[in-house]
Symmetry: C2
Amino acid sequence: MPYFDAASAAPLHPVAHQALLASLDEGWADPARLYREGRRARVLLDAAREAAADAVGCRPDELVFTPSGTHAVHTGIAGALAARRRVGRHLVTSAVEHSSVLHSAAAHAADGGSVTEVGVGRLGAVAVGEFAGALRADTALACLQSANHEVGTEQPVADVAQQCRRAGVPLLVDAAQSLGWGPVDGEWSLLTASAHKWGGPAGVGLLVVRKGVRFAPRGAADEREQGRSPGFVNLPAVVAAAASLRAVRAEAQAEAARLRELVERIRARVAESVADVEVVGDAVRRLPHLVTFSCLYVDGESLLHALDAAGFSVSSGSSCTSSTLTPSHVLRAMGVLSEGNVRVSLPRGTAAEEVERFLEVLPGVVQGVRAELGAPVPEAPRAAAGAGPAVGAAVAAGAVTVDALGKRCPIPVIELAKVIGDVPVGGTVTVLADDAAARLDIPAWCGMRGQEYVGEEVRERGVAYVVRRVS
Amino acid sequence: MPYFDAASAAPLHPVAHQALLASLDEGWADPARLYREGRRARVLLDAAREAAADAVGCRPDELVFTPSGTHAVHTGIAGALAARRRVGRHLVTSAVEHSSVLHSAAAHAADGGSVTEVGVGRLGAVAVGEFAGALRADTALACLQSANHEVGTEQPVADVAQQCRRAGVPLLVDAAQSLGWGPVDGEWSLLTASAHKWGGPAGVGLLVVRKGVRFAPRGAADEREQGRSPGFVNLPAVVAAAASLRAVRAEAQAEAARLRELVERIRARVAESVADVEVVGDAVRRLPHLVTFSCLYVDGESLLHALDAAGFSVSSGSSCTSSTLTPSHVLRAMGVLSEGNVRVSLPRGTAAEEVERFLEVLPGVVQGVRAELGAPVPEAPRAAAGAGPAVGAAVAAGAVTVDALGKRCPIPVIELAKVIGDVPVGGTVTVLADDAAARLDIPAWCGMRGQEYVGEEVRERGVAYVVRRVS
C-alpha cells in the first residue's frame, strides 16, 4: 500500500530500527551517572552527537537533542530572541514557515514583540532583497526554512544568510524537510531539524546554535543538553536518529536523483491527465521527493478519502482537511488554488510502479469526486455544465449574484463556474460566501480560467467576490 | 551485574520492549491524518491514553503525553500558575521536591512570582499543618511529590490535597517515583509522572489536569495533546509506556511486598555492619524499593567508584558526586549527613542474592575508602585514631582550631573527628571550612557522635563551625 506522505512522517529507516533495538538494551541509563550503565549511555550519546553534528556540518558542542523538531523551533526562537532583547524585539520570518515557527512568532507578538512576515512569490520562495529589506536595527532574529514543507520550493537560504550576516542579525534555518538530503549551505546562525522526517524515530529534534551566537534558554532551568533542552535524554531514539541520518545521507544523492525524476513525471502527467488542475511550487529549485497540485471543483477531504480507498496515503492543504477550516497558509501566501489540494511526498525507496499506479488512478478519482459534487464538466459547453445553480442565484442585466453563504469549499467555486456562462462577456458574477477558502480560490479560479477578478467587499454576512467575464 | 539505581532510570520492562517493537511498525504515522496509517496511529494513541488514564485514575481527556517527566512538571506548573495569575502569584512547594519542580519555582520567582518552600522533618516528610499554613489568599498553586526520590519517604498527599481543596488552591502532585506502584490517593488537581521510572521507555511523561482545574499553556501554541504538549507525538514510546504501566501495576502488590522486605533487610544490616552510618528516611511510610544511608568519613564519589568496581550501580547525594559540589537539597532539608551518601533503589525483579552480595561487600568497601582517607578507626581510642591532623590545627587551652579551608568533603569532618579527643570535655573544636557540605555534615556528625554543635560563624574566608566536646 503506497504511502506518499513522507513530509509528514517517514516510515522508520531500517538502520534506525536496528540502532533503536540495539540501544534499548545498552542506552536506558542516565548518561550523567558514573557507574558502568551510565558511562555506556554517555559513550552512545557522545557518538550520536558527533554523527549528527558531522551531518549538519557543525561542532558537536553546538548541537543539542530536543524531543521533537517543534521543540527545537520553539526553544531556538525563544532563546535567540531573549538573548538579543536589548537589541530589539523585532522578528522576521517568511510567510510560508512551518506552523511551529509561525506559532513561535505569534507567541512573541502576544508578548509584546513585533513580527514581519515576508511574502513569497507564486512559486513559494522569498525574494532575497525583500527579505533583506525587512531586517531592521531592532531585528533580534530572522527565520527562514530551507525548503517548504507543503510545496517543496527551496528558499535562497545561503543568500539570505549573507544578508542577515551583513545586517548583524542571526538567521535560524528550519531544515526539517531538507536535512536528510544534505547540509544547509551558507552562514546561518541557528538550525533546527526533526528526525522522523528523515526516517529516524519520533521523539528527536536537533537544535544547533553556532558558537558566538547569543542564546538565553527560557523557562525552568535544566542542566542537561547545555541547558537548552530539559528532560531525560531519549537515548535509544537519539542513537537511532543519528545512525539513520548518516544512512540516508549515504544514499541521498542517488535516491534524490531517482525521486526527482518520479516527481518530474507526476508534475507532467497530472497537468496532462487531470483537467482544471494547478501544479504548484518551483519545478526546479525544489525538494526531490515532493509535489503539490490543486484540482478545481473538488473538496480535499473527499479526494483524500477516495485516494485512501484506492490505496494511496497523501495529505492536503485544503480547508476541509484542517481542523480550523482555513486553507493552508502556504497556498494562501503563494496566491494559488487551495481546493482539491493534494501533496505527494515520496518516501525513500518508493517504487516507480507505485507512482505509475497513482497516476493511473488519479484522473478517475478526481472525476468521481467532481461528478458527486455536480461540478462543471471540463471542455463541455458551459451552459450545459449543470442543472443550474443549486444555491440561490439572482440574475440582473449582465450581472448574476450567487448566494453561497454557508457552503463550504469547493461549492462556491463550482457555483461560480456554473453561472459564468449565463452573463455576457463584460458582465459580472458576484459570489456571496463565508467560507475562508473562497478568498483564495475564487481569484485562483479566475487566473486558471482566464476571467477577471474584480475584487471583494465585506458584507454584513460573508464576503462578496466579484468576477468579470472576459472570455 | 546488579543495577540498584531504579529511581534514576529503570531498565526497560519486557512488556515495554515488546510494545515498542510492535508499534514501531504500526505507529510511526501522524495520528492527525485521515489515511489508514494515520487512523491506525490514532487507534494506538487513544488506547494508550485510556490505559494510562485508567492506571492514574482519571478520564482519558484529562491526560496528555509529554516528552518527559520534566516537561510534564515544567508545563504543568507554568500552565497552572498562568491560569490563576489573577488570584495571585504565590507558589508553595516542599523543600524536597525533584529539581524539575524547584527549577520551575525558581523560574517563577525570577519572573516576579513568590515562592514558599515548606520544610520537612528529619524523616523527609512535610507536616500537613505546616504545609496548609503556607497557603495564602494569593496562592496560585501548591506542589507536593507523592514520595521522595532520594530517600523514599512518602508525603501525606491525600491530607495535603484536602487542605488545598479547603483553601481553594490546586495541588500538583509529582508522582514520578510512585506511579508504577499505585495510583495517588486524594483529591489532587494536577499530576505528573515519567515512564522511564516505571520501566517504560525514555521520552514519555504524563501530565494530568483534572476537569475544572484552570490551565493556560505557556509559550508557542500547538494543536496536539489539547494544546498542552507541543510536537509530534512519540507514539511507539507512548504505547510502550502505557503497556508497561499496566504490566507493572499488575505485579505491583506482590513485587512491592518482596522489595519492601529486601529494603528492610538493607536498612537493618547496613546499620549493624557499617560503623558510623546513618540510615535516613522513613522506615515505614516509604517507597518499597528505595533506601538511602550516609557513611561518616567517606567521600561519595570514591564510594560509588569502589561499589561500581565491585559490580554495583548506585547513586549518591554527596556533594562530590554533583556537578555543583553542593550536597543534595533533600538531605540538607532533612538535616541529615550527606557525606558518604548512597542511594539504593532496586529495580523490579532484583534477586535477593544480589542484595545479599551487596550487603557482604559494602562494609569492606566503606572501610577501604576510610583507610585511604586516613579516617578515624571506629571503636578505637580516639587519641590513637590517626597520625594527627593533616591540615593545620592550632591548640589553645581547651580549644582547638582546625583549618580545613580548601578541603572537600569528607576531610573537614575527618579532621574534626581526629582532634575531638585532644580537647577536654567542655572544650571546643572550631573547624574552618569552605566546602558546602560541611554546613550539613558537621552538625550531623555531632548528632551521630553525641557531641554538641555550638554554631557557625561566617569568616572572611569560609565558615567557622564550633563543636563542644560533651563526652
